[in-house]
Amino acid sequence: MNPIKLFVIFSKVSSVTIGGGYAMIPVIEDFLVKKYKLLDQEDFLNIISKAQTVPGVIAINTAILLGYRLFGIIGATFAVLGSALPPFLIVLIVATLFNKFSDNKIVNGFFFGARVGVTVILSNLCFQLFIKYKKHKLGLLFASIGALMIVFLKLPSILILFSITLIIIIMEKGKEHV
């Protein structure tokens, strides 16, 4: 194993996983834990939980943590390059084609439908998150109110993100003291 190999592994992972960060986790696990045995399951879960804790692209966070762990800064650099380059190049190609054919009737028809598909996926994600956080009724309530404020009052997302977090933390603190 060397940094170049790490680059190859991460580029494989990022060029086969479609559908964003969460879809990548099982694939990364397959490659790194099962196929190349770079680390065991528990280590992997630890890294994933750290990668999900901090903001940023989950796949990139994972690449940094893992690359650094194996080969220091050079490893992190190669792993990040591996996971960013293939999607970068593919999107460049698609964007070029998109600009060429953006007046095409078939292309427009495709996007007309594909947007509905995107809405379906996002709605499903919301549905799953509602179930995941169902114990945190207060949090869910504030999250929903915040979403409505972003959409209909056009408040900035960042403002809502931090105010809700603050409110939830304060309210939970209050509960502990009662």
Binding site: V16, T17, I18, G19, G20, Y22, A23, K50, T53, V54, P55, G56, V57, I58, A59, I60, N61, V80, A84, P87, F88, I90, V91, L92, V94, A95, F98, N99, F110, F111, G113, A114, R115, V116, G117, V118, T119, V120, I121, L122, S123, N124, L125, C126, L129, G139, A143, S144, A147, I150, V151, K154, S157, I158, I160, L161, F162, I164, T165, I168
Partner: protein
């Protein structure tokens, strides 16, 4: 181009809970604040990001950068969205070492992720409102949602399938 870098740096810094949480931030930055691309193109971009491999935040950074300033724009935007990861991970290690006994950092991050749900709902509503507006799109939405729930295919197939339905529909109109 420096503004483009700053915008994506900001998105990277605040993308709690990964790409879907960042969608609403990306929309704020590139559509509502800077008017770099119109809402219509933004929706197409999300659809493209869903059917191409890789993390959604990287895909959108590349796409928006390219639309604005060609290849250099795409490099700058992508770097912008990646760099904050390094900072946050470094900070996390540091905080865990220094403060883990005094404050519950895990809990704060958990709450931030819970709040990010708000941004995900917002993105869903905004994208939904502009994508679903007539009988055809309502039927397609209900149909595709049912397919997703019953057969649990990969999300790619949902987006591609809906796209194909859209092409067929466009022949009748």
């Amino acid at each position: 181009m420096f503004n483009l870098f700053l915008s994506f740096l900001k998105i990277g810094f605040l993308a709690f809970g990964g790409g879907y949480g960042a969608l609403s931030l990306i929309q704020d930055e590139i559509v509502h604040l800077n008017h770099w691309i119109d809402p219509e193109t933004f929706l197409n971009l999300i659809a493209i990001a869903q059917i191409t491999p890789g993390p959604i935040a990287i895909n959108s950074a590349t796409f928006v950068g390219f639309e604005l300033f060609g290849i250099y724009g795409s490099i700058v935007a992508t770097l912008g969205v990646i760099l904050p990861s390094v900072f946050w991970l470094f900070l996390l290690e540091l905080i865990i070492k220094l403060l883990s006994k005094k404050i519950d950092i895990q809990k704060i991050f958990f709450t931030l992720r819970l709040s990010t749900f708000s941004l995900i709902i917002a993105a869903t509503l905004r994208i939904g409102i502009s994508s679903i507006f007539d009988v055809f799109t309502i039927i397609l939405f209900v149909g595709a949602f049912t397919v997703l729930k019953v057969f649990k295919p990969s999300v790619v197939w949902i987006v591609l399938g809906c796209g194909i339905c859209g092409i067929i529909y466009s022949f009748f109109y």
